[in-house]
């Protein structure tokens, strides 16, 4: 392993993050607060409790997942798209690094940023509602795996994208709807029966359900299935990236 390269890539990506640390910190704080004002206060006053949890607390895991997923994707996709766009990718292609090292450096940094934002949101939310975490170990595991797998997915999007529009396309057209419809703000038991079935095709449901279970001990789908889903997604993305580097798809002519 070329650890010097892994650390060079990781540090350089994180430096970019720290250049705009204030922004990175303030925007999730503000958006989380807004969610609490809108959902927690306005809607929450009408919905008393969901599965024995106050509505304000109920949405916290979903809120964290929502931001972590979108941030992991946007950070990772931009992180690799940018060097392609400005041409500095030449250095990465001519360096003695393999796919695993590039993934550790770039995806690792993107996942770290997403994790940071997740933690900031959890902190902000705890100012509004009382949060208890029943399974802290599982909570951390779910959070880490989500950061990692969505950063991997973002990395693939960044390599696939050939312009800025395409870079925005997948997150906008696929991820945002899946996340919003994935039970971030409701329990799927609140849906009409037919939608309860359809929604099970949405992979995000499994992640949010599992994550929420680690907080409150209640889940929409069995927690083992949630873990399996996210592990499977991570493996799938890793496989795709391995193939990309082997064939040079979209990066090496």
């Amino acid at each position: 392993m070329n650890w010097a390269a892994v650390s060079a890539m990781y540090v350089s990506e994180m430096t970019r993050f720290f250049r705009t640390i204030a922004q990175s910190f303030i925007s999730p704080v503000i958006s989380t607060s807004l969610y609490f004002v809108v959902f927690g206060a306005a809607i929450g006053s009408r919905i008393d409790q969901v599965e024995g949890v106050s509505y304000g607390a109920f949405i916290v895991p979903g809120l964290i997942m929502l931001s972590v997923m979108t941030q992991a994707i946007s950070n990772a996709s931009f992180g690799i798209y940018f060097p392609k766009f400005i041409g500095t990718i030449y250095e990465l292609l001519s360096a003695p690094v393999n796919f695993l090292e590039v993934v550790l450096g770039f995806v690792g940094a993107a996942a770290t940023k997403a994790l940071f934002i997740g933690v900031v949101i959890l902190g902000t939310a705890s100012l509004f509602v009382d949060i208890q975490i029943q399974h802290p170990f599982a909570m951390v595991l779910f959070l880490l795996l989500t950061c990692l797998s969505f950063a991997l997915f973002g990395f693939i999007i960044g390599i696939w994208a050939q312009n800025f529009e395409q870079l925005q396309l997948i997150p906008l057209l696929v991820i945002t709807p899946l996340v919003f419809l994935g039970g971030s703000f409701y329990s799927i038991s609140m849906l009409p029966p037919i939608w309860q079935k359809i929604t099970l095709f949405n992979p995000v449901v499994y992640l949010i359900s599992g994550f929420r279970w680690s907080f409150f001990g209640t889940a929409d789908v069995p927690v083992g299935l949630s873990l399996l889903a996210i592990a499977g997604f991570t493996a799938l993305c890793m496989g795709a990236i391995w193939w990309i580097f082997r064939t040079g798809w979209r990066i090496r002519s």
């Binding site: 070329n2 010097a4 390269a5 650390s7 060079a8 890539m9 540090v11 350089s12 430096t15 970019r16 250049r19 060097p83 400005i86 041409g87 500095t88 030449y90 250095e91 990465l92 292609l93 001519s94 360096a95 003695p96 690094v97 393999n98 040079g248 090496r252 002519s253």
Partner: protein
């Protein structure tokens, strides 16, 4: 001397079907400076990119330091430093961070003293804390060179390093190149400036249309292909070339003060002895003789034309 870069029947067909390299075979010796000359679109950058791992070869083999560039890319790439033709740099990175980054990427442990030395050598020391966007074009070029040198490569590729560079930087650059050569680094550079190849290269390769037209010792190349001129200064100016000398390739210059004779050093004989005899016979008295070798430029233009014909 052993070959540090060995290229065998290398072909590159781009996705669109364009064949940019049509079977290049070339051995680059350890420690030499090889200049690659060729017009725009000849395939110089493609050749370098394929050796460095930026593009995949379509067929053929390349080894660097004995490592196959595809199968044993780690070994091969660790030995290579590349200064690309395009000026691609991260705009908001500090100069010294950009250079350190490259060192790390190539697997070398962090070494601030080594980076400082390179920055000083390339006159970037004053700008070490500046961000790349704040630099002029020539300074960015220096940063690219510093990045390529950051991991102490054994083989350095310079793809048109002097395009858009002022005289001073060019001089700095050749000083650096000379120093690297003294350390045993092999240097491959592409250029459109033939004087450059002439001034610093040990060998010259000419590429056109994806083919290597020739590779030769610079001196030998100039001897072998060079046309020479012999300038004959006369005691008394003459109005016209005497009839008896019509068979020679002669030209009247300096308002009749001198005759210029052009001959091919490749020919069986240069005809000089005979010419000098005939000159005396025609009653022309010689004051001085001067020979001049034609430049690489002339050779180059001649070769490319020949290849196109």
């Amino acid at each position: 001397m052993t070959a540090i870069v060995d290229i065998r029947d290398l072909r590159k067909v781009y996705d669109g079907g364009f064949e940019a390299l049509k079977g290049i075979t070339l051995s680059i010796r350890e420690g030499e400076i090889l200049a690659l000359l060729g017009p725009n679109g000849a395939g110089k950058t493609t050749l370098i990119s394929t050796i460095c791992g930026i593009t995949n070869p379509s067929s053929g083999e390349v080894t660097v330091g004995g490592f196959d560039v595809v199968e044993q890319y780690r070994g091969a790439r660790s030995l290579i430093g590349l200064v690309p033709q395009e000026m691609s740099l991260e705009p908001f990175t500090k100069v010294k961070d950009a250079v350190s980054y490259s060192r790390g990427l190539f697997g070398k442990p962090r070494d601030d003293a080594a980076i400082d030395k390179i920055l000083k050598q390339l006159s970037l020391w004053d700008k070490r804390n500046a961000r790349v966007v704040e630099l002029s074009g020539g300074m960015k070029r220096r940063v690219l060179i510093a990045k390529a040198l950051s991991h102490e490569p054994k083989v350095l590729f310079l793809d048109e390093p002097t395009a858009g560079v002022d005289v001073e930087l060019r001089k700095d650059m050749w000083d650096v190149v000379a120093e690297l050569k003294a350390q045993g680094v092999t240097i491959i550079l592409t250029t459109h400036y033939i004087e450059e190849a002439e001034a610093i290269a040990d060998r010259v390769g000419v590429i056109n249309g994806g083919q290597l037209l020739l590779v030769e010792e610079k001196d030998a190349l100039m001897r072998r292909l060079g046309q020479k001129t012999l300038q004959i200064e006369l005691q008394e100016p003459t109005q016209a070339i005497p009839e008896t000398l019509a068979g020679y390739d002669l030209e009247l210059v300096s308002e009749g003060q001198a005759l210029r004779y052009t001959y091919d050093t490749r020919g069986e004989s240069t005809g000089i002895t005979r010419l000098l005899g005939d000159l005396s016979a025609a009653g022309l008295q010689m004051r001085d003789l001067l020979t001049e070798q034609s430049s690489l430029e002339d050779i180059f233009v001649g070769l490319v034309k020949e290849g196109a014909a």
